[in-house]
């Protein structure tokens, strides 16, 4: 009987020691990771010791040009793509989607282009000819949804992506 009690106590002590060691290791992990399941992005700093890493793709749209677009077919939209990385980009896939703000009638129109190669620091221009005509016949304004206020707007979403997966995106919401 005495042997059984000794063995049980010994086993219990060994278990507690092992469990304690695991809990200690887990607490080290908590200190390193914090309580956030998603690692926080470091806040940007203006006085960092190191230069920020170059942005691989920079997409630029002219707001003046956007303002001049008309709700007609054959509208020309030019945009600039800059290779901000230190390496040549063999190609850049450009996608331009035109959708209505009204999700019940998105009337999506998609356009695509492939550019490249782009040398480090090089900027090139891409031009799209897009259809911005309203889906309704001339003289008829698109009827707003019940409860909606005002006319719906057109949304242009432009995405540039490299074969490596680096991307840049711009969304333009056109004035009604």
């Amino acid at each position: 009987m005495r042997d059984v009690i000794l063995w049980t106590l010994g086993g219990l002590l060994a278990f507690l020691a092992t469990a304690g060691a695991f809990l200690l290791l887990a607490s080290f992990g908590d200190d390193a990771m914090g309580s956030d399941p998603i690692p926080r992005a470091k806040p940007s700093s203006t006085t960092s010791d190191r230069e920020p890493p170059p942005v691989p793709l920079v997409l630029t749209l002219s707001e003046d040009q956007l303002e001049s677009l008309q709700r007609k077919p054959g509208q020309r939209l030019a945009l600039n793509i800059e290779n901000g990385s230190d390496e040549e980009l063999p190609s850049v896939e450009l996608t331009l989607d035109v959708v209505s703000e009204n999700t019940a009638r998105p009337n999506k129109r998609s356009y695509q282009q492939t550019l490249g190669p782009l040398a480090p620091g090089e900027t090139t221009e891409a031009e799209f000819e897009i259809d911005l005509s309203l889906p309704m016949p001339d003289g008829m304004k698109e009827k707003a949804s019940p409860g909606s206020e005002g006319q719906t707007r057109e949304v242009l979403e432009i995405q540039a992506i490299t074969p490596e997966g680096d991307s840049a995106v711009k969304t333009a919401v056109l004035a009604p």
Binding site: L16, A19, S35, V99, N102, S148, A175
Partner: protein, 408 residues
């Protein structure tokens, strides 16, 4: 065995932070509540992307939100972005309310062309129930519905329906009737005593026992088109006229039953047949036992009220309005016991929807949800996909309303 039990006791039954991942989606980058998105700090967007949103309603359990998106009904987790379609996209809904079985009642108005041939006016609509099978199918619940309000806890939806004429006389005064709708397969509860006039808005008391109604009498008959406030206690089964407004005054939205009297928004109307929100409206209170409305002084002499909604405890009123004609629209909370008004948003550049149906409380009374977007100033360019943008389009915002600072 002993070791296994001890191991469970010492280490717990799962990962210490396992629940943080459960059921959630990673929100877009602008979803954090600490940043000021144009309505003040602490205000959090609940939806993102294009589309005209309206009629937000938080589920009785508080973990989901339903709203109208470009005329169709959707619902989603309160802080997640996984939209579930509840009706077809061309449905044309105006308002949605939760029912007890987690389905939704959606009001679809029947639009009619007005006499001038250009404008569209709302006629009585049809109430549909959504299914809980993940499809956008609906079933018709009730026709000739003029106003809808939800009972606390999603127990039922109270509706005011147009009652059949009792005589063939074309000059017969329109009458309305209350009907409780509990769900697609539940029997309707009809209250037979009619309400004289057309119900233009209704809301339920926080205890679920009484309805506050805005009623418009037909021009040319007794009442001369004037607006009235009625209360209807379910247990009594008949309406009681609380007050009649002076000629030319209209009620905006639904009167709100509170423990400090019925509150309603009213103002001068050019056209007595429409509730025009463009004219300045004020907040009135009818104290218990009185039939005389009085201006609510706590909001200030120049305050312009657009919409109100009573809190679940019946002690506070959420108000969308402006301090004076030159100030921006904001959300305010009026403490009814002390008659003090506190600002819940600090709006500088947002356009807040002012329709009474676009304002709702969370069931716990901790926050108010409204619809807003950035003020339009021509073409705008953003560095994010459209689906991740909040202020570019009308979206839902959760505004905390506890521990508000005093004053502005």
């Amino acid at each position: 065995m002993l070791a296994f039990v001890l191991a469970l006791a010492l280490t717990g039954c799962g990962h210490p932070s396992g629940n943080l991942w459960e059921g959630g989606t990673i929100p877009p980058t602008s979803a954090t509540s600490g940043t000021d998105l144009g309505l003040g700090s602490g205000v959090r967007p609940l939806s993102f992307g294009p589309g005209d949103k309206s009629s937000p309603r938080i589920s009785p359990s508080g973990d989901r939100v339903a709203f109208i998106l470009d005329g169709y009904v959707v619902e989603k987790p309160l802080y997640g972005q996984n939209l579930q379609l509840e009706t077809s996209t061309g449905f044309g809904a105006e308002k949605a309310e939760w029912l007890s079985d987690d389905s939704l009642a959606a009001l679809k108005p029947e639009n009619e062309i007005a006499a001038d041939g250009t404008s569209v006016v709302s006629a009585p609509g049809t109430l549909f129930g959504t299914m809980r099978d993940g499809t956008p199918d609906t079933s018709m619940l009730l026709e000739e519905v003029m106003a809808v309000g939800a009972l606390p806890g999603g127990e039922a939806v109270a509706t005011a329906v147009s009652a059949e004429p009792t005589t063939g006389n074309p000059d017969e005064q329109p009458r309305s009737r209350l009907v409780l709708v509990r769900g697609p397969e539940q029997p309707l509860q009809v209250y037979l005593r009619n309400i004289k006039g057309t119900v233009t808005g209704l809301s339920i008391s926080p205890d679920g026992r009484e309805v506050a109604l805005a009623v418009q009498r037909e021009p040319g008959n007794a009442g001369e088109g004037r607006f009235e406030v009625h209360s209807y206690r379910f247990s009594e089964g008949h309406p009681r006229r609380v007050t009649r407004l002076p000629k030319g005054m209209g009620i905006l939205g639904a009167p709100q039953w509170t423990y400090w009297g019925i509150h309603f928004v009213a103002g001068e109307q050019d056209d007595p047949t429409s509730s025009d929100a463009s004219a300045p409206h004020s907040l009135f209170r009818i104290p218990e036992g009185s039939d005389t409305p009085e201006l609510v002084r706590g909001v200030g002499e120049e305050f312009i009220t657009a919409s109100t909604s009573v809190s679940p405890d019946g002690e506070r009123l959420a108000i969308v309005g402006r301090r004076n004609p030159g100030s921006p629209t904001n959300l305010y909370v009026l403490d009814l016991a002390s008659d003090t008004l506190k600002a819940a948003t600090t709006n500088q550049k947002m356009e807040i929807k002012t329709n009474p149906r676009d304002l709702t409380w969370s069931p716990d009374g901790q926050s108010v949800v409204l619809i807003s977007r950035g003020a339009l100033s021509g073409t705008e360019v953003y560095d994010a996909p459209a689906s991740g943008l909040s202020s570019a389009f009308y979206n839902l915002y959760e505004v905390p309303v506890t521990n508000l600072p005093a004053g502005e």
